[in-house]
Symmetry: C2
């Protein structure tokens, strides 16, 4: 059973395992540096559907089914699914899961959602409420642009601090038994808002939240960055990552030797014109479920702090002059 | 530690307790039959704020703080908050919780959100991940109309099957120790979609999901409706409630003697012109946190099955011709 550590962290004594993972991505992600790690790369962003939202639902559903198949499990083995996405009222998720008949917890942490769903799946398995839970999330570039920014057809210009929403879904199965990376700690995040106002600079919004979660973990456990092989944030991008390193340094911790940001790994920003990097719920999800978990299975990474990052704004809150709160949820995985 | 029961249900062996509850409602709810049970009735729906969304955030934040105060706890005693609301990207919740600095799990189950947040809070406390968790949700009539239906200024006509979104927030504190109704079972819901298309008839959408959750509980546990003093759904309204009773009867269970719907309790639909009844995340939340938990403390109700109900649509999904999936999360409370 789990133990409370410090003010915020949970230690998993039973250490639930990630026994399966699947990542499906869009064509642009399939042209990026992580291409060889994904299970499936789509040829087009609609995948035979007639809307971007339906395509996103299909991607999420297929990632879920693929993760189950890769584990040689049946759908009925999955007791609960934890999932959410960026689309208002979680329609990406709810329509994806509609045909599956698995009890479902809808979660929302903006682009930190993979952290939240993974924490809740781990808590559920650790406590014995389920033998297998599935944690997943998705995003779709076109659906996100339509909802949060401008119609794609405008061809609007983007500032250098803006990011490119990843089209894709990552799904992982958390299990009481079996083999795979163990989930050893969770650090549910607080909402942090330093007053940033620019929805085209999400890195600046989310970096303070990521710093808060990472520093809380070190303070709660007495650990140091050097106790980990890798610290991976979700989608801070080029500018947010620098800010994170500075903020964490002020608290006395040095991230410079073993830190990456999923948003900077998934695209080659220069050749792919993705500016500050990748973003969206799918960004950290496919980088985890594709790239990082493969590296863990190959023992190239043995101790990971995974910190997906989210910006809790909506078009309404921005239009009403609100600043943008950030949140980051942390999970430690160990071989 | 919890036990898995049947395919869907969790039995809480440690039985987390609801040690505090608070409900704040708008003026219309304060004119309804449950007025005397609410902690605070607002004089106007803006409560000094300059937008409906900001007013909703204030209501949620104040309900949270009131529940903490009523328990003679401090904010720092609350380890995690589980909350969500109807507004896109959960801005009602995230802006409400922004100043509080408590680690936060954003959840979304449409109007079933109070069930989901309560289940997750109970799971977290049961497993020892926290001593105190807070479960809450909110809704606001004006914000919901603006987002999902028509601008209020249109004064659009409403069909008899439509419901009236409750303005209010209910918050409960779930604790390992202390006195109060015990949480004994949770039944996380599945997404159920029988193809209903009419966003002005949510009762028809959600009744099959409520039936699924209720019948699953009976099948998983071998219990009968007569084992409970009260079964309370969230916001099926006048027509959805009738449909629920029929659907559950087909499965061999009779709800006619001890069933209510929060949406039918909170307003006097004839004198208050609320048509099929109340709805929104706040509907079941304030009816639980105001009315039902008072009745449990007075021992008028000793065994409750609480089943908030949600419709997982968005304006985008409806515009794209999708039917409307429903979900219902069940929680059993016992003295």
């Amino acid at each position: 059973m789990g133990t409370q550590v410090g003010t915020q962290t949970i230690k998993f004594d039973n250490m639930p395992k990630i026994v399966s993972h699947a990542a499906i991505v869009g064509p642009k992600e399939g042209e990026g540096p992580l291409a060889s790690y994904f299970d499936q790369i789509l040829e087009d962003v609609l995948w035979g559907e007639d809307s971007w939202e339906k395509a996103e639902s299909k991607i999420l559903k297929e990632a879920v089914l693929m993760s189950i198949k890769k584990a040689s499990l049946n759908l009925s083995d999955i007791r609960y699914i934890f999932s959410g996405d960026l689309l208002s009222q979680l329609i990406g998720t709810s329509f994806a899961l509609r045909p599956l008949g698995v009890p479902f917890f809808g979660v929302y942490g903006a682009c930190s959602t993979m952290g939240e769903s993974l924490i809740l799946a781990a808590m559920t398995v650790e406590a014995g409420f389920a033998d297998y839970c599935l944690a997943t999330t998705s995003s779709h570039f076109c659906g996100a642009e339509k909802q949060f920014r401008f119609p794609l057809e405008y061809g609007s210009q983007r500032p250098p601090t803006s990011t490119w929403t990843v089209t894709g879904s990552g799904a992982v199965i958390v299990s009481k038994i079996g083999t795979g990376p163990k989930i050893t700690y969770a650090i549910p995040g607080k909402i942090v808002d330093l007053g940033a106002m620019d929805p085209m600079d999400m890195g600046a919004v989310m970096a303070p939240a990521a710093a808060d979660t990472i520093v809380s973990f070190f303070k709660d456990t007495g650990k140091q960055p050097s106790d980990l092989d890798l610290i991976a944030t979700g989608d801070l991008g080029k500018y947010g990552s620098k800010l994170l390193i500075e903020l964490v340094k002020k608290e006395g911790y040095d991230l410079t030797s073993n830190y990456i940001d999923c948003g900077m790994e998934i695209f080659d920003s220069e050749s792919q014109n993705t500016l500050a990097g990748g973003s969206g719920c799918g960004c950290s999800a496919v980088t985890l479920a594709g790239y990082i978990l493969e590296k863990m299975e190959d023992k190239e990474i043995n101790k990971l702090l995974f910190v997906p990052t989210g910006a809790m704004l909506s078009t309404v809150s921005s239009n009403e002059g609100e600043s943008i709160p950030g949140i980051a949820h942390g999970v430690v995985l160990e071989n």
